[in-house]
């Protein structure tokens, strides 16, 4: 049953592909979408946090939809239009449940996507993805376009912790590698350029796999309208108002313990001592525990442990698996905000 539907899906996908193969206007479709996608430059630049991203223009007056992420933690972000014009973008509202934020730039008569006229498609539909991946495009250079097929429309079930996302609604999963650094906030469109959704933040699934997905515009439409209408602002979004990007990497002492000094090339990550009345003490971490996994990553040494700490963001989970004697013990911290 399943395999049969898969084959039929494949056939449909191929049919849709063919439409594109025939279309003499692939370049025209792309050229029509490009002016409605912007490059965003903001906070970040540390560790694996990119300081660049993407956004979709949804009004002629400069309302831009993007992903609510660390990029927006600086007071202003820089928004670069397709023609190279550069604007200061101001966050006018966020809805962290939908992982969405709206930026406003002072511009008029911009080309835009009408959020009342977006499309929905099922699995097998051919898609295009437009975004500022890897900061390949600067100035008036067009953003990257990729092609692929919707693999599924399903509920998001991403890994918690470092790649946690508050959104748990429906997403389009696609077979192209759409969600690289900088892609968040980019546009997913049909093969003929109709808006389907917004490319989401980078998310790691189980088994060290990465998700390639977009949040359908139908999921975002109400939030976008509410923010633009002033009904939701950043201040009354509980999750958004409290988050600040931590500029210094976390250390083990932020969790209430010391690891042994990093003296040789591969010092095993043993817990050296526990700070009194600390979270570590409360959770039962003990001296001489050997940290073997941190957030699912194998800890080879003190150095790799510190790397994991360095990638944490306030509010994440830090899950440690430690070896004590012959036992493996799991301890989960919540990463403190400043």
């Amino acid at each position: 049953m399943i395999s049969r539907s898969l084959f039929i899906l494949f056939s449909i996908a191929s049919l849709l592909n063919c439409r594109f193969t025939q279309a003499e206007s692939a370049a025209d479709v792309i050229a029509a979408v490009q002016p409605k996608v912007v490059k965003i430059f903001g906070a970040g630049g540390l560790k694996n946090l990119a300081n660049y991203g993407s956004g979709i223009i949804v009004s002629p007056d400069g309302h831009i939809v993007t992903v609510w992420n660390h990029l927006l933690d600086s007071d202003v972000v820089s928004v670069v239009l397709y023609d190279g014009r550069r604007f200061f973008g101001r966050v006018i509202g966020t809805d962290s449940r939908k992982d969405v934020a709206i930026l406003k730039i002072d511009a008029k008569e911009l080309p835009f996507f009408d959020i009342n006229q977006t499309s929905q498609v099922g699995p097998g539909a051919s898609i295009l993805a437009f975004s500022n991946v890897f900061k390949v495009a600067t100035g008036d250079e067009p953003v990257t376009v990729m092609q692929g097929v919707v693999s599924a429309k399903t509920e998001l079930a991403a890994r918690r912790g470092r790649y946690k996302v508050p959104y748990d609604g429906e997403v389009y999963l696609v077979d192209a590698v759409t969600n690289n650094p900088g892609a968040a906030g980019g546009a997913l469109t049909t093969i003929d350029g109709r808006l389907l959704g917004m490319l989401g933040r980078e998310l790691k699934g189980n088994n060290n796999t990465w998700l390639n997905y977009a949040i359908p515009m139908s999921e975002l439409q109400q939030s976008i309208e509410d923010i633009v209408a002033g009904k939701i602002s950043r201040k009354n979004d509980p999750l958004a108002s409290s988050t600040k990007l931590k500029t210094k990497p976390y250390k083990s002492t932020d969790f209430g313990f010391f690891v042994v000094p990093d003296v040789v090339a591969r010092t095993p990550a043993f817990v050296d001592s526990i700070i009194d009345d600390s979270k570590a003490e409360e959770l039962g971490l003990q001296p001489d525990d050997l940290i073997v996994f941190a957030n699912g990553e194998l800890v080879h040494s003190v150095k790799t442990f510190n790397e994991v700490l360095g990638q944490l963001v306030g509010g994440d989970d830090l899950q440690l698996i430690v070896r004590r004697g012959d036992n493996l013990i799991t301890i989960t911290f919540i990463v403190p905000r400043d």
């Binding site: 049969r4 084959f7 039929i8 494949f10 056939s11 191929s14 049919l15 592909n17 063919c18 193969t21 025939q22 692939a26 370049a27 479709v29 792309i30 050229a31 560790k47 694996n48 990119a50 190279g84 014009r85 550069r86 991946v133 890897f134 900061k135 390949v136 495009a137 600067t138 100035g139 008036d140 250079e141 067009p142 953003v143 990257t144 376009v145 990729m146 092609q147 192209a176 590698v177 759409t178 690289n180 650094p181 990465w210």
Partner: protein, 597 residues
């Protein structure tokens, strides 16, 4: 932090085995239709789909024979390449052949292994040329025009990713052009991707050096680099292909057997808030400075392309070899200037002359990794190279393979020797010329000095002293004629450096000419030979790097005193014609004879 890395083929040993799902479209179709029929769901495949599929199959069939699998002589790694001519020239990446030495083994999709010899390398542009041996009827790819590539175009990448094919049938991936005219910052030392094509076509380790074809099977790029980040060193949907137009600009340079350099304008530029690109700094010894370019001037266009960002400027600069002349337009105070500029070398020779036989350093590995012990690494096993091919590789400082340079020198010098036997003549040359007003112009060239007399002026150049630009304004006509005399007499003993450069459009816009280079002290000369008929059509002599050259163009040869010599010298310096002189006589006199002037 994102690392932009070029693919390193030698990493195969470290790559884990990857599961690769191969989808055969035909079997899928047959299964889907059979399932459909049992369930009485009628599935009609539109003709357009079948035609598109058929056309893909035909394109792949047609071009696959030009795709080359390149292996290190000891089989410890490899990459890809593409044949571009029937005599076996193959374009690949520099980083594929780096460290492989002079000879390598290559496979084609006929299943055969061929010997190949290194020809030339371009470390900055990450391009190399090798030559397959043993046939003169190799299949080769049709060259496309990468400037016509548009976002959304379909492309095929072909090559040898993960060294999958034991029978050298190239792997084909299919995808879309994601961006054109992309600029990718230098990775490691000076390797830089300018004006490249970005694709979502899967490019993986082992694809390096392989071809990117357009939908018609024309070669539009050489795949060489991918964006990688936390997902590992495999395709993440952003691959970069060196544009074939850049490769073709450099092709004759690469065939010269040299280590080829890129170019600079001698100026740095910056973009302003209003979107213009202005000169931030300029060397006053550069040609652009001599053509009037100054700090603060706004660039309008460069090599015929508009300049609206620093990346665009770098993109344009990156696709030309040093020595090429390209048009530059700039404006100052609302006034526009259009000048030709000859591009200077980006690197000093010593910077570039890394030994190509040495393995590459790994500048893009951010972490220090302990060396992986490879058994018998130090037991040098020489690759088996057939005896007959050994003479095709000649090591020399500054060259990837001097053999190919010497071949071209010999070919071009044959054209010079056709002028006649100048060695047999006495060493004092008496050259009588006449300008377009009919006024006489006399030049007497002795072994130690040259004198010129024209109108009421008199110019002397002592050959034992430093060369000057005499006569004033000519850029050094007398020095240039002395170089010509030495070229005709005994170039190999006289010149310090003497090599074949490659080719370029004469004066930026003219016919494509082969270029020979000679130097003596600070004096340098570039000799131009028509690619159409091998004729020497002119030469430029510069008394040093900071002066405009004396540029002499030779419309035709004529017989004088038993030898061939230019019937006219068209002399330019800077951007101006200095004189057009008709040769009326050339006589060879014994300098010791009585009555010599």
């Amino acid at each position: 932090m994102i690392e932009q890395q070029e693919l390193r083929l030698r990493d195969f040993a470290q790559l884990c085995v990857l599961a690769v799902l191969v989808c055969d479209p035909q079997s899928v179709w047959s299964q889907s239709t059979s399932i459909a029929s049992t369930n009485e769901v009628k599935l009609v495949v539109p003709d357009a789909v079948l035609h598109a599929e058929q056309s893909r199959i035909e394109v792949i069939d047609r071009v696959a024979s030009s795709v080359v699998a390149i292996f290190a002589p000891k089989g410890e790694g490899g990459g890809s390449g593409v044949l571009i001519s029937a005599d076996g020239f193959v374009v690949t990446n520099f980083h594929v052949v780096q460290g492989l030495g002079g000879f390598m083994k290559c496979g084609l999709n006929d299943g055969l292994v061929y010997d190949a010899v290194l020809v030339g390398i371009d470390p900055t542009g990450d391009v190399a040329v090798i030559k397959l041996l043993g046939r003169d009827d190799f299949p080769f790819a049709e060259i496309g025009d990468s400037d016509t590539v548009r976002m959304g175009d379909w492309t095929y990448a072909m090559g040898n990713p993960f060294l999958l094919a034991d029978d050298f049938q190239p792997t084909v991936t299919y995808g879309m052009v994601s961006g054109t005219h992309r600029y990718q910052y230098p990775a490691g030392t000076f390797l830089e991707y300018t004006d490249c094509i970005q694709v979502d076509t899967s490019i993986n380790p082992g694809n390096s050096g392989g071809p990117l074809f357009n939908d018609n099977g024309q070669l539009i790029g050489i795949n060489g680099r991918i964006s990688v980040e936390k997902r590992g060193r495999v395709n993440v949907g952003a691959g970069y292909s060196i544009s074939i137009n850049q490769v073709m600009h450099f092709l004759d340079h690469l065939k010269s057997g040299r280590i080829v350099d890129h170019a600079t304008l001698g100026a740095t530029v910056t973009s302003t808030s209003d979107g213009t690109v202005v000169v931030a700094k300029i060397l006053d010894s550069s040609e652009a400075y001599r053509r009037g370019l100054r700090e603060g001037d706004e660039l309008i266009s460069f090599a015929g392309r508009p300049v609206r960002s620093v990346n665009q400027y770098k993109n344009i600069l990156g696709i030309y070899p040093k020595g090429w002349t390209v048009p530059l337009s700039y404006q100052r105070d609302g006034k526009r200037f259009d000048v030709p500029v000859q591009l200077a070398s980006l690197h000093r020779q010593a910077e570039l002359a890394g030994d190509p036989s040495q393995p590459p350093s790994m500048p893009d590995d951010k972490e220090d990794k302990p060396p992986i012990p490879i058994p018998h690494l130090n037991l040098e096993k020489k690759p088996e190279v057939p005896e007959e091919y050994l003479s095709l590789y000649e090591e020399k400082d500054g060259y990837a393979n001097y053999y190919f340079n010497f071949q071209m020198q010999s070919q071009l010098m044959a054209a010079i020797r056709q002028w006649g036997d100048f060695k047999a003549q006495p060493r004092m040359w008496a050259l009588d010329l006449r300008n377009q007003q009919g006024e006489p112009f006399q030049i007497r060239m002795q072994p130690t000095a040259i004198a010129a007399k024209f109108a009421n002026e008199f110019a002397v150049l002592e050959l034992t002293e430093e060369f000057t630009d005499a006569p004033t304004g000519s850029g050094g006509l007398l020095a240039a004629l002395e170089q010509l005399k030495q070229l005709l007499l005994d170039p190999y003993n006289f010149f310090t450096e003497f090599y074949y450069v490659g080719s370029e459009p004469l004066d930026g816009t003219g016919e494509r000419v082969n270029v020979l280079y000679s130097s003596k002290g600070l004096l340098s000369t570039r000799w131009y030979f028509s690619q159409a008929d091998q004729r020497c059509v002119g030469f430029d002599t510069a008394i040093d790097e900071e002066h405009d050259a004396c540029r002499i163009r030779i419309p035709a040869l004529k017989e004088f005193s038993g030898v061939q010599f230019p019937s006219q010298l068209h002399i330019l310096s800077g951007n101006e014609t200095w004189a057009i002189l008709d040769v009326t006589a050339l006589n060879f006199l014994d300098p010791t004879a009585k009555g010599a002037p």
